[in-house]
């Protein structure tokens, strides 16, 4: 049976110890949450769809991404799936920003 990369509660092998330290959210993380809220408010996405998109990601990629990076990746997936943006448009914009402000 297959246990998803997201569903690892209690697994010593996959989840490891819990980091109980306090941490401050970075600006990009707050922005990711804001975009998420905005997409929900206009009815573009549902929480269940974003969760599903994260669950269906490549497992190696999923584990390599930070929490909000996974959120961003799942928003991209849903926006592309619903034909609101194309992958090319997103990549082009990312490249523009990288030129303007340097590599993230």
């Amino acid at each position: 049976m297959a246990r998803g990369h997201h569903d690892i509660g209690g697994s010593e092998r996959d989840a490891g110890p819990i980091d109980r330290g306090e941490h401050q959210l970075e600006d990009w993380e707050i922005l990711a949450d804001a975009v998420n809220q905005a997409l929900g408010a206009v009815g573009v996405k549902r929480t269940d769809e974003l969760r599903r998109a994260r669950e269906e990601m490549d497992s190696e990629l999923y584990r390599s991404l930070k929490y909000y990076e996974r959120w961003i990746a799942s928003m991209e997936t849903i926006l592309i799936e619903k034909k609101i943006l194309t992958k090319e448009e997103i990549d082009r914009k990312v490249e523009e920003f990288a030129k303007k402000w340097g590599e993230p």
Binding site: I8, G10, R52
Partner: protein, 97 residues
């Protein structure tokens, strides 16, 4: 007036979480599948996330419960005997125990 919830279980009923594995978006965590607990509360009926996750309408609505578990029944080597775990679980993941 909302209609009455057609809930199969009531608070206090003993339940077993189905030991199922299938593809798709599932809200029932792996670590409680196949475990025994009890109905703590009936929340009402809600759209099914297993359908909502794929752009579906989530209908028919499914009864959702707050289900209680003894932590010592959920985890091997769990020492604090009185600790309990509460999780939201949809009716189609539960059977009588």
């Amino acid at each position: 007036m909302g209609r009455a919830v057609r809930a199969r279980f009531k608070p206090g009923d003993r339940v077993l979480v189905k030991m199922e594995d299938r593809p798709g978006h599932i809200r029932t965590p792996w670590y409680v599948r196949g475990k025994r607990g009890w109905i703590e509360r009936v929340y009402g009926e809600f759209r099914n996330p297993e359908s909502l996750a794929y752009g579906g309408d989530g209908l028919p609505k499914r009864p959702l419960y707050l289900v209680g578990f003894e932590q010592s029944q959920v985890w091997d080597k769990y020492e604090a005997a009185k600790d309990k775990l509460f999780i939201d679980i949809y009716e189609h993941w539960l059977e009588p125990a």
